[in-house]
Subunit: 142 residues, 2 copies
DNA sequence: ATTTAATAGTTGTATGTACAAACAATAAAC
DNA sequence: GTTTATTGTTTGTACATACAACTATTAAAT
């Protein structure tokens, strides 16, 4: 079968899933005016005012350079401010940023509702947990 | 917990896994001089000489425009040729492309071996299958 | 105290992927 | 047989993410 080695490759299936879910997420977060990753960064700031870029990079599992770029854009949009303190730079939420908070959480709920409706709450949760653990396993062994 | 909504979000876990596995794959395919997606496209051509872009797009689950771009690069590298036949354009492998065949398959084997060593053959296979099916479910319901 | 190493962040550059709009070729409808 | 719709591919543009190299700050070692 032509497609067999596609179906049987984690590289491919993982990327495909990522594309499918990303599309859904972009869709749900669209009303907030933010792409999903930006929204998650905002959530991390809501949770900890004055969080550092390093911490963001760890929580979001993104490279520091990527976080720098995300922050740039969010500062441009005046949703956060960045205050450098020694070699670190700490991130704070603006009023405009705070105003988005409930909308962002709503989008997040909608996203989960949407895929859980298709997968079932239990399968959705299990899958999510599973992916997290597998990523951990794979990352540790590098 | 700060990270809870990250761990609990399929968007995030799926993307994280995708990044982790992509890195592994890039690593394993590096000796072939190709990024993994290009290598998979080559495999599809090995399997069916004269395959059309539409078919490639379906097999690889990528947008047509993306396939156009991939092909552009592979033609540049003289690994394939593209012959337009009516409105379709059909893809053939060059000698140089054929010469890569066994190396590419080797890389693919190494990739699977590498993550199976960490996850266990069974968990690896199950996960891969699972991801494929979940993507199908999610895509059908759009 | 000076030198050296480690840590945090940034900048230039590259890549994979996509969307929307355009174009070209075929098929359907009238 | 023309017009209209559909299908396959391409082009312009945009975005998320990363790596490698760099700067700046703090900590360790001598």
């Amino acid at each position: 079968m032509l497609e067999s080695y596609i179906k049987e490759c984690l590289y491919f299936t993982a990327n495909r899933l990522s594309r499918v879910v990303t599309k859904m997420a972009e869709d749900e977060f669209a009303v907030s005016g933010l792409a999903p990753t930006y929204a998650f960064l905002m959530m991390a700031v809501y949770d900890k005012e004055g969080i550092s870029q390093k911490e963001l990079s760890e929580i979001l599992h993104l490279q520091p350079s990527t976080v720098t770029r995300l922050i740039e854009k969010l500062v441009q949009k005046k949703l956060i401010t960045s205050k450098s303190e020694g070699r670190r730079s700490l991130i704070f939420c603006t009023e405009k940023g705070k105003a988005l908070k409930s909308l962002i959480y709503e989008c997040w709920d909608n996203l989960r509702a949407r895929y859980n409706e298709i997968l079932g709450q239990e399968q959705g949760d299990l899958l999510t947990l599973n992916l997290y653990q597998v990523s951990d396993q794979l990352e540790r062994k590098e």
